[in-house]
């Protein structure tokens, strides 16, 4: 099992970073899209979704994602 980091570019809702737990690259894409859709009443059209990093699941593993507008 890995903790995956994916980058998502959408046509209307801006860029996202998705972090999901999955046991394969394929499922990581699927879970990331699912999480993205759950965030929106109308799911945004995905322009590009990329898997960029994976880490073994261990206590304390995670990602820090820089944002420009908090």
């Amino acid at each position: 099992m890995f903790l995956y980091k994916l980058e998502v570019i959408t046509q209307s809702a801006g860029p996202f970073v998705a972090v999901v737990l999955a046991d394969s690259d394929e499922k990581a894409f699927s879970y990331a899209e699912s999480q993205l859709n759950r965030q929106h009443l109308i799911p945004p059209t995905i322009q590009e979704i990329s898997l960029v990093e994976k880490k073994r699941v261990e206590k304390g593993k995670g990602y820090v994602i820089q944002t420009t507008d908090l």
């Binding site: 690259d25 990329s50 898997l51 990093e53 994976k54 880490k55």
Partner: protein, 540 residues
Amino acid sequence: MSEQQIRPWETDRDKLNKLELVKLERDGLDIIDKIRKLAHQGYGAFSEEDLSFFKWAGIYEQRPKGNGLFMMRVRIPSGVLNKEQARALAAISRDYGRDLVDVTTRQAVQFHWLPTECLPDVFDRLEAVGLFSYQACGDVPRTIVGNPLAGIDPDELIDTRPIVRELEQHFLLNREYSNLPRKYKTSVSSNIYNTGHAEINDLAFTPASKEIEGEEVIGFHVWVGGGLSAKPYLAQQLDLFVRPEEVVKVASGVTTIFRDYGYREKRHHARLKFLVADWGAEKFLEKLIERIGPMPKKGTDRTVGWNAGYFTGVHKQKQPGLNYVGLLLPVGRISADDLDELARLAEQYGNGELRTCNSQNILIPNVPDEKLDGLLTEPLLDKLTPNPRTFIGHAVSCTGIEYCNLAIVETKARMLAIANWLDENVELDTPIRLHINGCPNSCGQQQIADIGLQGAKVKTEQGMIEAFDIHVGGSLGPDPAFNKRLKGRIPAERVAPVIAHLIEYYKANRQPDEKFHQFVRRVGHEVLQTQLDQILATTA
């Protein structure tokens, strides 16, 4: 480690991460005996905790984890290898490692696919020829990188082989250093072109001289706290001059500072670079002097450039009548048979030595003038050519998804394809160093490349495809800097033409003798970004 001696970090166990607590209970090097005793029982004989200590023996579980197959790394200090050692490596690879040997960016070699049961035999075979996988991984001093031309180099101030040997003996299996906060990488080179990649090591010695009592003394300057990985950091130079006979004392002092004051609360914040970044070079030097006594201040820096560890071709040694022949190992990979044949060539034409390079290549030293022609007509040199084309001759690759648990994409075959395409399609009179990495970590050292590629997977209508981010403008000293990412992820199939376009732009706009990384820094990153944007907008 002595049971009576309490180290500073042991007094506040709340500030230790989970592995640190385990490291207080068992010395990582104990795993070597355990592997010797239990490996015949197979993978199941080892607990999860045992497996986490396999690194101290130079062994990692291979992808996918849990199937009882291992990657093993073997230390090759400064890259110096004799024919018996080369043959032993080839035989291990043939018998247990599916015929593959990889030369790494730290002059080490790696086997893949080793079954659990063979590990004690591999230890024995290595030890019999004076090689060790021990401490090639783990929280310990790793293999010492340096000048592959040590002792034969017209561009070195002194022969660093005795120093590297002494350091290797000082560090290897020494339980004073078997529990460091994290991995610890040392570089020793007296070559004036920075063959040891000083700025990206935890501890590095570079050539220097100083007038002391009216006499010019040759020695070293010292750099601490460099490293790549997810947070790359260039080492800082200490105001210190080191005579050759004092290298072990200084290395020992720096290492014990790291051991005793290095951070152990979070593993990702434990490398020496974090301590150096917090303390600064001045405070670090104060602490070092407290430990090792007064030292002279810096002398004259004798490094004049950076050759990136490339030595392909035929070159004169400092010994008249002798030559070294640098050979290309495409992306560092060689078969057992070819390594055996290299050992034969080294014996027949040289003095039986080979040298591995941190550019993932290999060279045959000590070839007399009269034997050169014979060596150059050997069939193996058609494959491992001393005269590679520009791009394949300067291509470096990490292991990639083929063996690595954390890689996102395949890299070695991809780099071969990209470099060969560029060699077929782009005319270039000056090298451009290409490095590829399958994840954001840095086994392929992508941050120091002229053009660094970092892999990702992208979902498309045709399914998942491999893609790469392009980073431009990296180099080590003088004027060292890591490369920077250009926005826009490139499908793998388009990477080579996109790079070709960037190179054509460089060729059209460079100044005389301007290298690619110098060009990027002169014109600015945004100019290259604009070029990439245009390429992506105008080509399908």
